[in-house]
Amino acid sequence: MSTTVNRRDPRFAIARRGRNLRFPSTEADAAGRVEYCENVEDAAQTLQKVIDAGLRPTVRSSGHCYEDFVVNNPNGAILDLSLLNRVSAGLAGSAPYHVEPGAMLGDIYQEFYKRSNVVLPAGTCFTVCAGGHVSGGGYGILARLHGITVDWVSSVDILTVDINGKVIQRTVDRNHEPELFRALRGGQGSNFGLITGFTFNELPPAPQELAQAGISFDWATMTPEKFVTIVTTFGLYWEQNDQKQETWGLFGFMGLANKASGRFGISATFTGKDGTAEDLSVVKDFLDRFQRCKPIAEAPPMSSAHQLANRKPMVGDSVCYGEHVITTSPWITNASEGGENGISRGVRAKYKSAYMKKAFTEDEALAFYRMLTDDRSRGLVVAVDSYGGATNNADRAHDTAIPQRSSVMKLQYQMYWQDKAEDASRLKGIRDTYTAAYSTAVADQTHLGTPYPNEHYDGCYMNYPDVDMVEHNYWPELYYGKGDLYPLLQRVKKTYDPHNIFHHSMSIRTTT
């Protein structure tokens, strides 16, 4: 049976929260217990026990959920799957490859590397676990080269609760309960049940090397014109090179930090189709485009967007015109960074997201400039990731629950702070910036303030959930598109979770 940590247990103060210290929102919102499950049988028995007691179960793999989906559960039960973390492969490291929901991405990289020399194309944060990351889509620095994580999922093991209140174990794939299978590839497990495993029948070979480079720009000497040039240049590269396969090994990141941070930067990582980083012409071509903006050469950056906020300027920065500081290291070394703390101290945070189909316009760049030079957005980083390439396989929009298959960039707005007293001002800062960014002429004029799908934008990413979006009655279209996906998710929800046991503030709604 699972290990129960209730309110009387000294571990409860840690167990009841995730990494975002904004949640539980109040003492009353806190769960009544946390159940640590070590295997599938544990999870099934515990889920049944929780259902029989009439409690609301919420499911946690690593606790990285950006919103209140898991830990705001008044006197309910959090089923923690962080101990359900096996990573395995077939005989002699062959396929199929199997991952349990509590496995951290960094461990998955290492275990598959050691056993099978394959890689799961997934995220950059070591401690994020598979359960939420994979079922919500999953992407990282190999996305342009290999697509997003759910593109590789062959089957999903899940516990659902049937109409009689009974826990049912299912394994779903393209031939067995295909609609549920599709829903679990991007539609998040938290809508439908408790995921106990993912299987991959095939995975790409692990890269051998990763080249990294970074440049940054000083806010002290920044002008609106220069800022616009930098931002539009970055976006234009990804728009122009979306279908050029020779560039798909390149992953770019632009971290637009508030002026108070002193600098903002761009980084690039590269591994070629052959898994090496011997031919760096693509990286140099990318970096060359910013030379006219006179960047400062950076130390090799952390590839994790999450770590950017804490980045400090290099001591003894060298101004480097015409040359790029590019370092190359074993890919697995890079993929293994950041695993030092499975149970984080946490931080107060707020996130938002947007998919972009085209480069930034001058108006958009100016909107960012205005907001990032305004004290309201102090602490904000707009992390702009390259996207596209292999992710833009239009066919995968029909067999996964990720409809965004024509985007070239993906933005993650990140605001971090420590003091609860700053909640209102910090939230206002990120909200105002976001609203300004999506209120220019390229935004859908009937959905201003959001990246509503149109020629320029393609909505938001469900793994970067933002409950502010539910203020818009069209919010499902932001995350699931305007096609047949949301109706399918509603149908799956009704079929596999008829009592709406698995719900949260942005879960699939089957009623209006």
Binding site: R56, I163, N164, V470, H499, T511
Partner: protein, 378 residues
Amino acid sequence: MMKGNASWTRRAFVQSLGSLCAIGGLSPFTSRSLPSENSLNLSTLRFAFIASAQGAIHTFTILRDGSWHLTQQMSSLAPASLALSPDQRFLYVANALESFQHRHTGSVESYAIDPHTGHLSIVNRQALALSSTRPRHIAVSPNGRLLAVAVEGGAAYNLLPILQDGSIGTVTASLKPLVGTYLPATPRASLPSAIFFERNDAFLATDMGRGWITSLTVDEDLALSLNGHHDFAQSGESIHMVVCPTAERYFIAGSHDSTISMVSRTLHVLQELKLSSGKGSSALAVHPSGNMLFAATTSGISVINIDNFGVLRASASFDQMPGDIDRLECSRNGLHLFAATHSRSAFRMQINHQRNALSSPLKLASIPFFTAIAFHYA
């Protein structure tokens, strides 16, 4: 028109006798106390609050001649149930919403009551738990510290604290009973419909989806626990329940069956009485003396006498109501029975306690989309 009617089952009679014996013989559990002018003076009906699904709570001032006068129309989101605090300083309201503040949940409201005018002023609005949409009924604990909510949409029960200033705190617990949810032949979802606090830390709830009465307790963390459930009606049948004010008894009736059940606090059936008129009950009210029970049926109102030994005896039926009744309430002074009909009107009847009779109904108010009524006494 009064008609004599009486029939109750042999099984019920035996059960009744057995139960009464079990609790200490056949001694009367209450003495018949007739309402008097004194009791009228002690508990004068001052205000009536009537909720309309159109989004308003109507305050009526009741004059000494018994006439009702509309004095305030307070906007409310979608009032579906009303409950007064024990000290009558606050009115609590359940809003039958699918969405509140853009979230998939209903809400509750607290209003302060002006003791002189009965006028309401909003104290606060509070969201229910996620997925708890369309609350159907609310109840305040005897100490006035807790608000329990029966939620139809999410098929759940919510618990919220009531703070010192009368405002409603955030949800501390949401409980969704699923055990044995469905009978395979007649699948029915749970539809929590009404709540009755037994103590500050325990309440009973009727579930019209399953024909159950569920027993729940509140722990020191303000969490809810299921104690069990009892079948009382057919699946899909509305259950109506009232508490006998003078004894530890509940009266329960279903919408598809004309049987009235008298049950103990532990939900053991003490007696079942089969009414000869009507196909089922749509509302129940008990007289404050504990000696009369009123059941609204498709044929009108049945008057049931409760004798000194606590035995139910149907005594009369009254068929002059204009329209189907969905709410019944007896005034605290025991002189009047109030009825609200689907045809959006509120009526008052005088109770002739000695003859177990009702006067002709007097129309008091007409409220479109009437949903709930609450009375405020001096």
